[in-house]
């Protein structure tokens, strides 16, 4: 039930004093925070943490790992498992060749449709597809969101091994 303040004078004064005190406490807290350094980062300027990179395993952009001994220079065997598991059907692969020579001639990922769930990376039997920690993928042109084979190959050229999270976990004592 709604209390009626000010029914008696003493109550009113007490409430006013407590209210004024609570406001002063609030001012103290905001005042302290005014002096504390801010936590925001000057994002595109990067003078805060210039070498910041997300951890391995961050789901940013796609890359296809290279293997110079295989046709097409890619590890990918065009088994279509990633295309099949993709919930958004954003991967389109055109395979070529039979058996050991099977490789993709077209590998298209529409990152505009992608929900970055990492399922394609998990399902890949040869660890050919991976995701890189590139997080600045925004664009104002939808066609720039589509990654084709050349882009993916180029991105994967500098990645020696697929980006996986190390299986080192912490246990009860808090150590790694």
């Amino acid at each position: 039930m709604r209390k009626r303040y000010g029914d008696n004078l003493w109550d009113l004064l007490r409430i006013l004093a407590a209210g004024a005190w609570s406001i002063l406490v609030g001012l103290y807290i905001t005042g302290i925070n005014l002096i504390r350094p801010g936590v925001c980062e000057r994002y595109p300027r990067r003078d805060h943490r210039p070498d910041y990179q997300p951890r391995p395993g961050y789901r940013g952009d796609f890359a296809l790992l290279s293997d110079p001994e295989r046709p097409g220079g890619l590890r990918c065997i065009a088994c279509l498992q990633c295309q099949n598991i993709c919930p958004d059907q954003c991967i389109h692969i055109t395979p070529e060749g039979k058996g050991k020579d099977r490789h993709p001639v077209q590998f298209r990922i529409d990152t505009g449709l992608c929900q970055f769930c990492w399922l394609c990376v998990e399902v890949c039997p040869v660890a050919a597809i991976t995701m890189t920690p590139d997080y600045e993928t925004a664009t104002d042109q939808p066609q720039k969101l589509i990654r084709d084979l050349d882009t993916l190959r180029e991105r994967g050229r500098n990645i020696p091994e697929p980006q996986r999270v190390e299986p080192v976990g912490c246990v009860a004592d808090g150590g790694a």
Binding site: G6, L12, G26
Partner: protein, 357 residues
């Protein structure tokens, strides 16, 4: 310094006008025009600066950075925003009362400027000197009470229910809080024995910091009262109900864009700074130096006044970014049940002090 320039100009003009047989009354008219333009520029600059400061201070309070892109530390951000607003299309909502929609921000802006005319910038340095000599305090309050008309016009003319609700809230709030504000000011007037702002400052100048009205215990209640009521008059948190964004979208200026919005916005900060100026004049010794009279540092009075007003404004900004907003009924009961009795009490105290201290 200012009055020196003004006097020199006046003498020059008088000489010219006499030479050309122009009635001398035009010297006064010209002085008014020059003063008015100066005030207009001042208010514009002040509003831009304080919008920037508000954003920066709120940023720091909230562990953010605030604007920092345009210019060093983002100091040109508000200027750029103003430019952007000027370029924008002027949208009048369908079914709106076009005349009122246009008149609203203009009325708000013009009325906001008028209060500056009687502020004593330095010794004897008001623009409307005749008015200030008789009723300076009342004059400021009178034009403060008019600013609600602009809000009502804008809120009504927008043909939007949120605007209307905001305007009605604004009207109710500003009329109500005028009363405690008047009571607080009357306490100072009682002690000063004059309605003139210059006289009120003159009484606080002798010992510098020590002779400020702020240190007189019988004026402490009016100080608090004035700060609360003035915050409510300029619609700032915790009394920003007319434009409460979480309730009324943007209140009375929901439907405004471009120039007209800029007018509302600038005038709001103009009014806000005016509150700081009047507080400095009433309680912080106005243009007088805090180190005694005459100023040992020889800093112009305008600087002191602007500095004091800035400190007041900073305090109110700090309050704004700390407190939640009151509800309409609580706003009204705070005004009529708490502030009004406290106002009468402080009037009693101030009256007693005026008689016996």
């Amino acid at each position: 310094m200012l009055s020196f320039i003004a006097n020199w100009l006046r003498d020059l003009l008088t000489a010219w006008f006499q030479a050309w047989h122009v009635p001398l009354v035009f010297v006064d008219i010209l002085a008014w025009i020059v003063g008015g333009v100066a005030i207009l520029i001042l208010v514009m600059v002040v509003a831009l600066v304080f919008i920037y400061l508000e954003r920066k201070i709120s940023g720091y309070i909230q562990s953010r950075l605030g604007p920092e892109r345009v210019g060093p530390w983002g100091i040109f951000q508000t200027a750029m925003d103003a430019l952007k607003l000027l370029q924008k299309e002027d949208i009048v909502p369908a079914g709106a009362d076009k005349i009122l929609h246009t008149l609203g921000p203009i009325a708000f802006f013009v009325v906001g400027l008028l209060g500056y005319l009687v502020i004593p910038w330095e010794e004897g340095g008001t623009i409307a000197r005749m008015v200030d000599a008789h009723v300076g305090v009342l004059y400021v309050l009178a034009f403060g009470s008019l600013s609600v008309i602009g809000i009502l016009m804008g809120g009504w003319g927008s043909n939007n229910k949120w605007s209307l609700l905001g305007a009605l809230r604004g009207a109710a709030q500003m009329i109500s809080y005028e009363v405690p504000m008047l009571l607080a000011v009357v306490c100072v007037v009682l002690l000063a024995g004059s309605l003139s702002l210059s006289t009120i400052v003159d009484q606080q100048k002798t010992l510098g910091l020590l002779s400020w009205n702020l240190w007189r215990p019988w004026l402490w209640l009016p100080v608090i009262l004035y700060l609360i009521a003035a915050t409510a008059e300029v619609n700032r948190t915790p009394f920003d109900l007319p434009e409460a964004e979480s309730e009324l979208v943007a209140g009375y200026h929901t439907e405004y864009s471009g120039m007209k919005f800029a007018f509302f916005f600038l005038a709001e900060y103009g009014n806000f700074f005016l509150v700081g100026l009047i507080f400095s004049v009433l309680f912080l010794g106005g243009w007088s130096s805090p180190f005694g009279y005459p100023d040992p540092l020889r800093i112009p009075g305008v600087i002191w006044l602007l500095g004091k007003a800035t400190v007041t404004v900073f305090f109110l900004m700090w309050v704004r970014w700390t407190l939640p907003r009151l509800r309409v009924d609580q706003l009204m009961s705070l005004c009529w049940k708490v502030l009004l009795p406290v106002g009468f009490l402080s009037l009693l105290i101030a009256g007693t002090a005026a008689l016996y201290v």
